[in-house]
Assembly symmetry: C2
Homo-oligomer: 255 residues x 2
């Protein structure tokens, strides 16, 4: 690969932005399959591939999922709404057919981590593949607002849970937002040992000002939050406190 191509890939990765305004245009099945098989190429723990993607193309299901996720209309408007699920059901079925009892292992918190991470790594490959084909994506954690309804709608069996969704579609060219600044590298990446908070706090404060400008520009001056302020506003309302119970009910992390 030539240097110019390396630069293009790094540029593509750094150029990510979440797309929430889509054209009314369907992605051809061949193209979405290209994206999905690129997703499959991500690593998985012990090559277990402990995830399943539900590719939602049905309009009525997308409309319901948009409601479940808190009236996120881009779920309805995108071409394909992908629901990434952690999946230990497939393994348990294979075990059962082979007379192996994996109940204790499958119910471990370790297997919750493995299957959740497998789903996330595949998803990020899907995101990059889609963006390289000039499609737009946005992750939807909001499906965890109503995970039971989502599971029922998609007929997820016991030992499968919906981790997050992803809208995929053709972006409306005039509605692509600016890319959002990230925390300074020194805040999120430390060398050899964890940096004391007081060492990174000045850089968080600088970033707070950068994000204040970003939010102000994007809202034409109406939003004055810093990053820290926006985070605290977001997190101080307890949300999805049912998650432990939900996961346990679906057969995850019981021990």
């Amino acid at each position: 690969m030539k240097n110019a191509q390396h630069d293009e890939m790094i540029h593509l990765l750094r150029n990510h932005r979440s797309i929430r305004e889509f054209q009314q245009k369907r992605i051809p099945p061949d193209l979405i399959n290209t994206v999905l098989t690129a997703g499959q190429a991500a690593s998985s723990s012990s090559h277990g591939q402990s995830y399943t993607i539900i590719n939602v193309t049905d309009d009525e299901k997308k409309r319901l999922l948009a409601d479940y996720a808190g009236k996120q209309t881009h779920i309805r408007d995108c071409s394909n709404f992908l629901v990434f699920c952690a999946d230990l059901y497939r393994l348990e079925q294979i075990a059962s057919l082979n007379g192996v009892n994996l109940k204790e292992v499958i119910e471990s918190t370790e297997m919750l981590l493995i299957s959740t991470i497998d789903a996330a790594l595949a998803a990020q490959n899907v995101a990059i593949a889609a963006e390289s084909l000039q499609l737009g994506i946005v992750y939807i954690g909001g499906i965890r607002n109503n995970p039971e309804q989502v599971s029922e709608l998609l007929e997820l069996p016991y030992r499968v849970y919906p981790v997050f969704g992803m809208c995929v579609g053709y972006p409306q060219p005039d509605k692509v937002p600016d890319s959002k600044p990230r925390l300074p590298l020194a805040v999120v990446c430390h060398e050899n040992s964890y940096s004391p908070f007081e060492d990174v706090y000045p850089e968080i404060q600088e970033y707070d000002e950068e994000m204040r400008d970003y939010y102000a520009n994007r809202s034409h001056g109406s939003r004055t939050a810093t990053w820290s302020g926006a985070m605290l506003d977001k997190r101080k309302v307890p949300r999805r406190m049912f998650m432990k119970h939900f996961l346990n009910q679906r057969g995850f992390s019981l021990r």
Copy 2:
């Protein structure tokens, strides 16, 4: 981006293989920073960036981490060993400085998911960025064999836990393995609802034969397992059953 470049990107994603044999050559700091900032560009829940990467370059620490992960010498031999951590400490510190009490929220299983997924999405971007620069990577779940020792060595505070590691370095050109076949797309990707197991099982059986050939080739005939067989062998030994207790002790998923 031109079509040829789209193809390059999809090819790059599909061409992933885990590298465990590295040249004794250090990655220049500028180059690793390019990789890490590309990692930062991944999405995170509510833009919270709830992860920290410990970039381990110290030889003694790499040697110890190789032991903790079960004598994985590639951790010692790679240029940079990146430890991806879920991080709720940063948020709690910011909250505390602003007089906000986030204890209940931070201790939720939902925040375990958010921070673990944030770390995983950043990691997969790091993997793709590294591979686009012709570096090799391998994920290391093995650091969860001894997460307390890893946490202590890297001085991780309460509310931070090591999710997985990643070796990054220059591959030994004659020791790059073949890429591993994935499950047929129809097994891991279902349209509109979860496919019954009996519908996908024949494809799993075909894949079992494909993987039997793959393992046999790679081992010069000494390994005769199928994928299902290898998975059951791997999973039937309960591993890391302490994970729930460990996470609770580090302040995660307490409610």
